[in-house]
């Protein structure tokens, strides 16, 4: 029988056991990032910036030169990296507590300067690593360890929709939101990450992609139920789509 290999691990993705929880979608997103790095042929000139949160260990999985940024500061660190080494492909990988709360100034201003960098933003509506506290992206009514009665709009405000906020800045080349909860959305997510990388490579400008993801452990849901929540609750509140693409502007 003739065997043909049709699916394999990207070489830039380490062949190691994961520290992520069962049903966590960081692994899927790492793979998309790894595939895009290989497809653009930039693995050897990539410098990644890992951020504080569960994904600080990005460097254990994606085998590229990496610097670890303080909490929320990845876009500022990435700015320094890109300015120092303009020939490098530079991306930051950040969670929602990191990017949308403590690092709000850094992401807004890196985007507004139109830095030639790409940012992969993983939104799972909670602080994962510290044990499931409320994030700026926590949904109204969602229970967390610091809003045990559920997030209340009057008290804590509403969830921040970062892809739309970033899209509102003049110097941004691309901003989109996607999910990895089913095959159709996964394909769309791959296209979004590709385009967020491409705008840096072509010099069009700052590329931003928000990816909705599960946190079964802190949502206190099974992996299956957590994945179902993406379609049922998250996508209605965080609509998928491309909010800005300079290539589609007149």
């Amino acid at each position: 029988m003739n065997e043909q290999l049709v699916f394999d691990r990207p070489a830039v993705l380490a062949d190691v056991a994961t520290h992520y929880c069962p049903g966590c979608q960081h692994g899927v997103i790492h793979r998309i990032v790894a595939e895009c790095l290989e497809e653009f042929g930039v693995v050897e000139k990539t410098i990644a910036v890992s951020a504080i949160g569960c994904s600080v260990f990005l460097y254990n999985y994606i085998l590229v030169d990496t610097v670890e940024a303080p909490h929320g500061r990845a876009p500022a660190v990435a700015t320094g990296v890109k300015r120092a080494r303009s020939d490098a492909f530079v991306f930051a990988y950040q969670g929602d507590g990191d990017l949308a709360s403590i690092g709000l100034a850094e992401i807004m201003h890196a985007a507004n300067r139109g830095e030639r960098i790409s940012v992969v933003f993983v939104n799972n509506t909670v602080y994962g690593m510290t044990g499931g506290q409320m994030a700026p992206t926590t949904m109204i009514g969602q229970k967390t360890t610091t809003c045990p009665g559920g997030r209340c709009a009057e008290r804590e405000g509403g969830p921040m929709r970062m892809a739309e906020i970033i899209a509102g800045l003049d110097s941004v080349a691309y901003s989109a939101r996607a999910a990895v909860n089913n095959i159709k959305n996964l394909a769309q997510a791959k296209r979004a990450v590709r385009r967020a990388f491409e705008t840096q490579i072509t010099g069009e400008g700052f590329g931003f992609v928000e990816l909705l993801a599960t946190c079964p452990t802190n949502w206190k849901l099974s992996p299956t139920k957590a994945n179902e929540r993406i379609a049922k609750e998250m996508i209605p509140g965080f609509p998928l789509g491309v909010f800005k693409d300079v290539a589609k502007e007149d």
Partner: protein
């Protein structure tokens, strides 16, 4: 710059010293009294083929410095006291990740918003780490515009030699005053600098990771041991000025602008027949403790003068402990001292024998 002497401010001397040292990335945020530095570099840095970024905050500026440092590029940020407080996070991460960079603090009055005049209130913050965790930065304290130039130049060499942040601790006096400065020829940076660790994109080699997170059993203890050994080895970099200390009965210890003002007072009192001298630490970390201790061993007494409530005096007392002590005269930030104002406390300390 040509080798001809130029008449410039201390702040400008910092900028030109950095350019001569091959600094090619500058990140800053406006704050008085150091604005001449970003203003000058906003055009001079691009003209030298480098990058200038006005950051959204000192937090961001220091983290941009971290990023550029990770690439092994000579980079600098400058600020003044309230801004340097905001940089402490990144400085701690740079120390933990062993990244070289230069941070300039033109010290102004505090606490809080304080004023925009000179102060030495940031001594503790500068020499005892400053941010969280157990670390040290090399600290250089210029007293003249020429030293602003020379020490900034030297700071880059030291930063890369030790893979560590280096602080220049000036103040509003040395930053704002104008003096003739003799520039030196630009020294080309060795392209191999940082070759063993800097991020370039992995190419065909194994990926490099620059980080300060050490979660594995024993890993952080090992890192702290390595850092401790490194900080101890910095002792080789001690610099100081000793003026008329050989036959002095009383040695005035003062650094930076205050050291220079104290020198004028010492000179005047010498002329009046008092056997006084001046010891001016130029490196505040490493502190010239062995040199001070040697003076104490000769039976000399000490008076530490600072533009704060008493900070470096702790290090002077530690240096001479067991054999001598140091008196202290603190000139409060908010006022500008003159040499004459230092003469009375020096006379009193001489009489106290």
């Amino acid at each position: 710059m040509s080798a001809k002497r130029v008449f410039i401010k201390g702040n400008e001397a910092v900028a030109y010293g950095a350019l001569a040292a091959g600094c090619r990335c500058y990140f800053g945020y406006p704050i008085t009294p150091q604005n001449e530095i970003p203003e000058l570099l906003s055009s001079a840095m691009p003209a030298a083929g480098g990058e200038f970024v006005q950051a959204e905050s000192e937090v961001a500026a220091a983290n941009m410095l971290l990023g550029a440092a990770a690439c092994g590029v000579r980079a600098m940020t400058t600020s003044s006291s309230p801004g340097v407080s905001l940089m402490q996070e990144a400085i701690s991460y740079m120390a933990g990740s062993e990244l070289p960079g230069v941070i300039v603090n033109m010290n102004r009055g505090g606490p809080g918003l304080g004023d925009i005049g000179p102060s030495q209130g940031d001594y503790f913050q500068s020499v005892k780490g400053g941010g969280h965790g157990d670390y040290r930065t090399l600290v250089l304290a210029p007293a003249t515009c020429q030293e602003c130039y020379d020490l900034t130049f030297a700071a880059f060499e030291l930063a890369f030699k030790y893979r560590n942040p280096v602080l220049i601790l000036g103040d509003a006096i040395v930053g704002q005053m104008k003096e003739p400065v003799a520039p030196r020829a630009d020294v080309p940076v060795d392209p191999a600098e940082g070759g063993g660790w800097k991020l370039t994109g992995r190419g065909q080699r194994a990926p490099r990771i620059l980080k300060s997170l050490f979660l594995e059993d024993g890993a952080l203890a090992g890192q702290n041991q390595r850092l401790k050994d490194k900080y101890e080895s910095m002792r080789a970099e001690v610099r100081y000025e000793a003026f008329e200390t050989a036959d002095a009965q009383l040695v005035v210890v003062a650094y930076g602008s205050i050291g220079r003002i104290a020198k004028s007072a010492v000179r005047a009192l010498r002329a009046a027949g008092l056997k006084v001298g001046l010891f001016r630490p130029i490196t505040l970390f490493p502190f010239p403790e062995a040199e001070l201790r040697a003076l104490a061993g000769e039976g000399k007494r000490f008076l530490t003068i600072e533009h704060n409530l008493g900070q470096m005096v702790d290090d002077v007392r530690l240096a001479v402990r067991g054999i001598a002590d140091s008196e202290f005269f603190g000139f409060f930030p908010g006022n500008m001292p003159t040499p004459e104002e230092f003469e009375a406390p020096i006379r009193a300390a001489v009489k106290g024998a």
